[in-house]
């Protein structure tokens, strides 16, 4: 954006590493391709073309979809990218997650890590973006997050399919003694129409894989897509309706023992005194061992079965040292307030905000204070991992969003080389950012040292899971606007303070790297929105609270979507302008945003009178490259407020699977509404107060509204899908509640102020 020149951006934080002075990584390293990890594990008769495609002599076609499947449908969409170019139908292929490998690095996850809004296409922004893609390759993180998997895979995986197909055709041409141009492919076979001869892919796979890859790759035009752009049957659906053992928690190995953990209820605290004698004597208990990881201290319980381990964990009597952070939610809130009073980093600065406010008449000023709590991820499948350490080699089975990090941190913890570790990534019973962390894997790896070579499955209780998360941080914000004569805002000043997600993740995942520069995630969703206001300043301040915080579906945008869009609604009301109309005017420079707002307003028939006791609110957030507007309709009922209907319009640039995209938008909105309605993690005596679904619940089926979704493809760049429905959900609901009750609720969860049916 225009103001970016004002911002000192020689240093800033990207995803998980600090980069000073632009892109300082070796060109040579970037150009050097990673080895194909599939070569090491080929079965008899199998040939591999690249890290994404294996074909057997029996024509079994295997596609590697190397991203975490946590419900978002990514294994299906990635497989379709390859299948489309390989010219095979989806039911013709086997899809695997594949091994942990740097070959599967995610470049797109970091691409938007620079201090630029998605729509900023200045030369500087583009240069940094491509530079960060290089950094992504340099770090070679195989990660699933940032709603980046389709964007990262779109070219790579289509090319993988196309290259393999071209090589298969070349091999077939040689074998048949015909010109490659005369060959066609269909469903796993290569045909020579003129002679009627055909060969399966499998018949020429070995010969094809030995050939040099083509210098030029031709991808299909969109008009020729048979699979992409259309809803597909998910490859994982049958397993998921039949109860198949596909999750980490379902792993069963011969001679396996079971376990659980009891980690310090105060983060980072060590045990001062511990009496294990009662627990050790309980039936079924094999051994109790101390644990120490990058995530803190505790005990691992090894037993004959999970239940015995759970019972023994309860019986451990331990005292823990005092925490290094404030003891209570009230004290934490004081630290945030103090931080908000300091200068912070200005991440957007249009016009001259100070001057604009200096002579503002009182009646033209709108002011508001907002606050959101810590939140747990509460995936349905509690944290777990299975590990086996034999002959100096470690095998680890778990659902995780970052296999190369699991490998690296387990190697450090156990004290063996990374090449002695095999990570088996399973399907995940929910991720939402929780499984970017590796604590569950570290615990299992350490406990595997204590079982004499037997495999151990370590399952956390729900209570342990709820109380040892990397939480969405609490945040507070101070907001000011000056209205012009026409009621439109002429100046806004937004400040928010929150513990730093990046600093938290570095401490746990990259303890050797110190944070440099501001944490952009504190202002994501506020500084990068497509509104033009002549004087527009957004500042973020990292508050020093070391309770573990991490990536929670949509990260900073989950906070700032609520702050920014709640405040925009307040401005509209104060300026006596319709909130849809105000947004359209402020977004005039961003046609994609305007079209989203117009679409969602049309779907909801915004502006038409509603019966008494019903009201609506709107919110819009651009996050992870997708432009999303949501309208929530609420009704006053004798039992409380009921969320009746939600309309969502989302511009994702290119929609690769409309069925999965719609499901993700609804899913993310429900995730956001659940949190907005009733979720909070609070602290007393340095410990999390909530423990299970009775005090940290989520939306139930009887509370679930009807959804209507429209997917737009107006913007020229592809956006993400998994997280983008979350940010506008909370503010649209809060704005609807204001419209219904006249109560402006600026603190989440809303259940502290209003009752829900």
């Amino acid at each position: 954006m225009a103001s970016v020149g004002k911002i000192a951006r020689r240093t800033f934080l990207i995803g998980a590493a600090a980069v000073a002075g632009g892109v300082a990584v070796g060109y040579y390293y970037y150009r050097k391709p990673f080895p194909n990890p599939l070569e090491a594990e080929l079965g008899k008769g199998e040939a591999t073309f690249n890290p994404y495609v294996k074909i057997g002599a029996d024509n079994t076609i295997t596609i590697v979809a190397p991203r975490a499947e946590m419900g978002q449908g990514i294994s299906t969409t990635l497989a379709v990218m390859v299948a489309e170019e390989l010219n095979v139908s989806l039911d013709r292929v086997k899809v695997e997650h594949g091994p942990a490998s740097h070959a599967y690095y995610n470049a797109a996850i970091l691409e938007e890590g620079g201090p630029f809004a998605f729509f900023d296409e200045s030369m500087t922004a583009q240069a940094v973006r491509s530079g960060l893609g290089v950094v992504g390759k340099f770090l070679a993180l195989q990660g699933t997050g940032g709603s980046a998997s389709t964007r990262d895979g779109f070219d790579k995986m289509r090319q993988a399919g196309a290259v393999a197909r071209q090589m298969l055709i070349a091999a077939a041409a040689q074998k048949l003694g015909v010109a490659a141009a005369d060959l066609e492919t269909a469903d796993g076979s290569i045909l020579h129409k003129a002679s009627g001869k055909s060969l399966t892919y499998g018949a020429v796979a070995a010969a094809a894989a030995a050939m040099a890859p083509p210098a030029e790759v031709r991808l299909k035009d969109r008009a020729d897509w048979k699979l992409l752009g259309k809803p597909q049957k998910r490859i994982d659906m049958l397993a998921k309706v039949t109860g198949a053992p596909i999750f980490g928690i379902d792993v069963r190995l011969p001679d396996m023992v079971y376990g659980t953990v009891k980690m310090s209820p105060r983060f980072w605290s060590a045990p001062i005194k511990a009496d294990l004698s009662k627990a050790e004597k309980m039936p079924g208990v094999i051994k109790i061992v101390p644990l120490e990881t990058n995530y803190g201290h505790g005990f691992g319980i090894i037993a004959d079965n999970t239940w015995a381990a759970f019972k023994a964990a309860e019986a451990i009597d331990a005292q823990w040292s005092d925490p290094e952070y404030p003891l209570s939610s009230a004290a934490i809130s004081d630290v945030l307030k103090q931080a908000l009073g300091t200068k912070g980093s200005v991440m957007r600065d249009n016009g001259d905000v100070d001057t604009a406010f200096a002579d503002a008449p009182r009646e033209r000023i709108v002011e508001a204070d907002y606050a959101v709590p810590y939140l747990a991820h509460a995936t349905m499948e509690p944290m777990n991992a299975t590990a086996q350490l034999r002959d100096g080699a470690l095998d680890i089975w778990c659902g995780n969003q970052a296999p190369t990090l699991v490998r690296q941190l387990c190697a450090n913890a156990v004290g063996i080389e990374q090449d002695k570790i095999t990570v088996h990534t399973t399907f995940m019973g929910g991720g939402f950012g929780r499984r970017v962390e590796v604590d569950y894997a570290l615990c299992a790896a350490l406990m595997a040292k204590e079982t004499g070579g037997r495999p151990i499955k370590v399952t956390w209780t729900r209570e342990e899971d709820m109380r040892h998360d990397a939480y969405r941080p609490a945040a507070i914000g101070k907001f000011q606007a000056r209205l012009g004569d026409d009621g439109m805002p002429v100046a806004v000043d937004m400040r928010m303070a929150s513990p730093s997600v990046i600093a938290g993740m570095l401490r746990r995942l990259f303890p050797s790297i110190s944070p440099l520069g501001p944490d952009k995630s504190i202002v994501d969703g506020a500084y990068d929105q497509p509104y033009t206001i002549p004087n527009y300043r957004v500042s973020g301040i990292a508050a020093p609270v070391s309770i573990p915080v991490g990536s929670w579906r949509s990260v900073g945008s989950s906070v700032n979507g609520f702050f920014h869009e709640g405040f925009m609604d307040e401005i509209a009301i104060a300026g006596k302008i319709d909130p849809v109309e105000m947004r359209k005017r402020l977004m005039a420079a961003y046609p994609s945003a305007v079209k989203v707002v117009e679409k969602v307003a049309a779907m909801a028939k915004w502006g038409e009178a509603l019966p008494a006791g019903k009201a609506r609110g709107i919110a819009f957030t651009l996050s992870f490259g997708s432009w999303v507007g949501e309208i929530v309709q609420v009704a006053d009922t004798p039992a409380g407020i009921r969320i009746e209907k939600v309309w969502i319009a989302a511009d994702v640039g290119t929609a690769l699977d409309p069925g999965i995209i719609e499901a993700q938008l609804i899913s993310a909105a429900i995730y956001g509404l659940s949190a907005a309605m009733g979720q909070e993690i609070t602290f007393a005596d340095g410990m999390v107060e909530q423990s299970n679904f009775h005090d940290f619940d989520a939306m139930r089926i009887f509370q679930c509204p009807v959804f209507e979704v429209a997917i737009l493809e107006n913007f020229h760049k592809m956006g993400g899908v998994g997280e983008v429905g979350t940010p506008p959900a909370a503010p649209a609901l809060a704005n609807a509640i204001f419209a219904l009750t006249g109560k402006r609720v600026r603190t989440l969860p809303l259940s502290k102020t209003v009752a829900f049916a």
């Binding site: 946590m70 419900g71 978002q72 449908g73 998910r234 994982d236 659906m237 049958l238 397993a239 998921k240 309706v241 039949t242 109860g243 053992p245 596909i246 999750f247 928690i249 379902d250 069963r252 039936p283 079924g284 079965n305 999970t306 239940w307 015995a308 759970f310 509460a378 995936t379 349905m380 499948e381 509690p382 399907f427 995940m428 019973g429 929910g430 991720g431 939402f432 209780t461 729900r462 209570e463 499901a663 609804i666 899913s667 993310a668 909105a669 429900i670 995730y671 659940s674 299970n692 679904f693 009775h694 619940d697 989520a698 939306m699 139930r700 089926i701 009887f702 679930c704 009807v706 959804f707």
Partner: protein
Amino acid sequence: MRLTVDGQSFDIDADPDMPLLWALRDLIGKTGPKFGCGIAACGACTVHVDGQPVRSCSLPVGQVSGAVTTIEGIGTAGGLHPVQQAWLEEQVAQCGYCQAGQIMSAVALLDEVASPSDADIDNAMGGNLCRCGTYPKIRSAIKKAAALKTAGL
């Protein structure tokens, strides 16, 4: 003790206080029923005992006298249960972790009410949590399953 699960008989050596869920998962090897909360608050562990839906995470195995049916036992050799079929057709699952419990609750609902109303669905399914928010599709799949069952498919 002896336990009948999905039509098969198992002799197990378990603490009678052990929840049925852990006997199924760790001792018998039926991993279809899932551990979610341990306090009957999420429904992921739902199985049937003599056709009645129960939360197996909170039912001591020593108190189980009837036949247990899990997600792994509702289909037939010939194919899926109509509820599973409807789930497949409606593409309900996302992460899928809660779905075994959801399906078992839905099967029990349809055994009781052939053509459930929205209110019936709300009542029967309210104890089954889904963090992916698949509720709209669960609702439509239950209605589709009711139609499949009535048609005898």
